[in-house]
Symmetry: C2
Subunit: 111 residues, 2 copies
């Protein structure tokens, strides 16, 4: 029936979102593009760790980066966010449909 494996892209996205530090990074980038050093500011981990996390987020398509002089600006990638949004949306509606179906069956069974 339906494939058991998720889209590799979605796998990467959820894997990326599975880490607290990475979620914090995204939350911080929500305010706008930032250089690595600013992303790392007041974070519980050191800058190199932030770089590694950013690399993973980039691989998942959740952030984009562009060099600006000395530094490198990271920003949210609407592409990846859109993909996540679509997936959650469809999963949600599908689940609700199924849920309604089973609620109906329950009602039927109770008669």
């Amino acid at each position: 029936m339906t494939l058991d494996l998720l889209d590799p892209r979605m796998e990467a996205i959820f894997d990326a979102l599975g880490d607290r530090t990475r979620r914090r990074i995204l939350k911080r980038l929500e305010a706008g593009p930032l250089p690595v050093i600013d992303v790392a500011k007041d974070m519980p981990v050191a800058r190199p760790a932030i770089s590694q996390h950013l690399k993973i987020l980039k691989g998942a398509g959740l952030v984009v980066d562009r060099p600006v002089g000395n530094r490198r600006l990271y920003a949210l990638d609407p592409e990846g966010l859109a993909e996540l949004r679509r997936f959650v949306e469809t999963f949600w509606t599908d689940a609700l449909t199924r849920f309604a179906t089973y609620a109906e069956r329950d009602l039927e069974a109770r008669k």
Copy 2:
């Protein structure tokens, strides 16, 4: 400004979704409620591992369970899914708003 930490509930949800096996479990439950033994069927890991994953998913509010005779039926929890949906939705729209703002600034800066 905006709080750096996410809602503990969302933290639990994303942590739960951060694991491949757990995602597969959810995907399987999308078809309807199942006993543990059926969830574990043809899975790359043994049944006890599935039980542990289900416990985590339950803690995150993504699944619910009810005893049915000898077995125990697990099903998707619309509550948690709704929460996830809302979060992704607002994050998405907020990000888009910010994105538009910065695109505008870019345009302005190019003049």
